[in-house]
């Protein structure tokens, strides 16, 4: 019996290693970006230091709609997120002249924030789209999440002494320390890791398991949305121009009817007699996402429909989705989400390093493993460097230049690509400290240029100190012991 158990463990360990290796780097990007997305609104606010005004959410939405009415042409819909305690701007996604745009709008004037940036949205999109075109990024993220679930389960089965080693970390012992670190990061936060991976897969379920929808609805996606959100009315454009009725009374009415605060406001067919304004209750105070909504005729302001979700299956899905998004989380829980995400990111990183450390202690590294070792240095150092470069670009790029937000994203991608090249070209004993040192410098610069004493600045300074310490330790690391071939 024990032989069977040992055999099972070995198979699980093999599967754990290979699944982790196969998509480990992508999972590292997904997890780091997801971890940073926990503070998406705060990052956005830090990246727009000139926009400090605050306004009542209903009035801010009205200001945004007025600006959009004057500045968007041929728009089919405006998708607005109201400001709240964590974010002072109105987030607007809309189309104009056939181009889909994303802007953060000033809550008082309704005009775009002076510093054009994607803010935390960059990390959020990177988390599940990986800067790849639709649907490839989401499909890859989905596949990676499934592989992650396999790696988690096989890792737990392969771990021989899960409770005995629960509080164990033995530093300075080479492979043993890496294994302890990997185990601790994985096991201590297992409930979080399983929850966030499973809910991540479910979040993209319509993409990775589309057959249920196809079997029931065929290609009629409108019917799917109608059934999912009966309170969100959709109707075709009448092609008769009509101004939008004042939004504030509609929003106040919705707030009275739905309770809570205003979350998102969708305005379909703006400027048309068939305009529809749909108000979604904020999910900042409840686990479930999108539990209640109310629609109004945009031209007259008359209510069309209201809906409070009570269907068990959809409520379950909404809670699963809400758990992944974590928007309900008060500050303490948000930090715990951040900690859990960081532990998962580091578990992946230590797993990837462990793969090499383990093999180097057994025999000289094969060519393939030498390549992996260099890619590890380039990617595991390069992704944080890219994130830091994104924040630095926000501080150094001049205001008002065309395509500023895209340039910030490009800075992140080029910095990560540069790090990958350094990792590939230099031996790891040089590339690791060089890239960690670069991350420290970039974080320090991002924090100190246009210094503003906020939490995000202090966190960046702490991260800079962390990277500097890491670089110092890596530079003092003895040259790896390589066995000569007999």
């Amino acid at each position: 019996m024990s032989a069977v158990r040992e055999g099972t463990r070995q198979v699980m360990a093999w599967l754990h290693g290979w699944t982790g290796l196969l998509l480990g780097w992508i999972l590292f990007v997904i997890c780091l970006a997801g971890t940073l997305s926990v503070f998406k609104p705060e990052i956005g606010q830090w990246m727009r230091p000139e926009t400090r005004a605050t306004a009542d959410p209903a009035e801010a939405i009205q200001a945004a709609a007025t600006w959009l009415g004057a500045h968007s042409r041929g728009s089919t819909g405006w998708y607005l997120t109201a400001p709240n305690a964590r974010m002072n701007t109105v987030e607007a996604a809309y189309d104009s002249d056939g181009t889909f745009l994303y802007r953060a709008l000033d809550p008082v004037t309704g005009a775009p924030a002076a510093r054009e940036t994607l803010g935390g949205e960059f990390f959020y999109r990177l988390h599940f789209e990986l800067e790849l075109p639709y649907p490839w990024g989401r499909l890859l993220a989905s596949l990676a999440a499934m592989v992650m679930l396999v790696a988690l389960i096989t890792g737990l089965i392969a771990h021989r002494r899960i409770f005995k080693d629960y509080f164990t970390f033995r530093p300075g012992k080479g492979q043993r320390s890496w294994l302890d670190g990997h185990n601790a990061l994985g096991v201590l936060a297992t409930p979080f890791h399983v929850m966030i991976t499973f809910t991540g897969i479910v979040t993209l379920a319509s993409l990775n398991l589309p057959w249920g929808i196809t079997a029931t609805y065929g290609n009629d996606l409108a019917a799917v949305y109608r059934d999912l959100s009966p309170g969100a009315i959709q109707r075709p454009r009448a092609n008769v121009p009509a101004p939008l009725a004042p939004l504030v009374p509609m929003l106040r009415g919705a707030q009275r009817r739905l309770g809570g605060t205003i979350g998102r406001v969708y305005i379909l067919n703006p400027g048309d007699r068939a305009a529809v304004v749909t108000v979604f209750r904020s999910d900042a105070d409840q686990l479930g996402f999108n539990m209640a909504q109310m629609s109004f005729d945009g031209a007259t302001g008359q209510p069309l429909a209201a809906w409070r979700e009570r269907r068990g299956a959809i409520q379950t899905y909404n809670v699963v989705y809400g758990l992944h998004m974590g928007r309900f989380a008060p500050i303490a829980t948000r930090w715990l989400y951040f900690l859990g995400g960081l532990m998962l990111t580091l578990a992946i990183a230590t797993g990837l390093v462990l793969w090499i450390v383990k093999r180097r202690e057994r025999a000289p590294l094969s060519i393939g493993n030498q390549v992996l070792e260099r890619l590890n240095a380039g990617i595991l150092s390069g992704v944080p460097l890219g994130c830091a470069a994104y924040l630095l670009a926000n501080r150094v790029l001049p205001l008002g230049i065309a395509g500023r937000a895209e340039l910030e994203s490009m800075a992140a991608l080029w910095a990560a690509a540069g790090a990958l090249a350094v990792g590939a070209l230099l031996p790891p004993r040089l590339s690791w400290p060089a890239l960690s040192g670069a991350s420290a410098v970039v974080c320090m610069l991002a924090a100190t240029l246009h210094f503003s004493p906020e939490g995000m600045t202090w966190l960046l300074l702490l991260t800079a100190i962390g990277f500097a310490t890491l670089a110092w330790r890596q530079s003092r690391r003895p040259k790896p012991r390589r066995r000569s071939v007999a």
Binding site: K164, Y166, F167, T168, M195, L287, L323, T333, L339, M343
Partner: protein, 106 residues
């Protein structure tokens, strides 16, 4: 309530760690006379009590999410303390106890 939950989870984790043969002695240090603290039943009991409190907090499941999030936080603190400074883990015990007592009133 959050503070009380955090305190209970930490105390539960401390007791569980102290009940382990590998960690009991460094973790308890001068508290060896209070070795009963390091009993796994006490650890699981405190842990379960925190879970019960979270389940009946009546805030739509938010306390339950917090309880799950506190597990890696508390156990991570104990792991780091055990590795580098076991006395720090003991120092946090009265703080956690104060959180348990005072938390509901804050």
């Amino acid at each position: 309530m959050n503070l009380a939950l955090a305190g209970l989870v930490y105390l539960g984790m401390f007791a569980l760690a102290a009940s382990m043969s590998r960690h009991g002695s460094p973790l308890l240090g001068q508290w060896r006379r209070l070795a009963w603290i390091g009993h796994s039943a006490i650890g699981w009991g405190l842990f379960g009590l925190a879970l019960l409190l979270a389940c009946f907090a009546g805030d739509g499941g938010q306390a339950l999410v917090l309880w799950f999030g506190l597990i890696p936080f508390a156990s991570g603190l104990i792991l780091l303390a055990l590795t580098y400074r076991p006395a720090a883990a003991r120092t946090l015990v009265p703080v956690a106890a104060l959180c348990v007592i005072g938390g509901p009133f804050l």
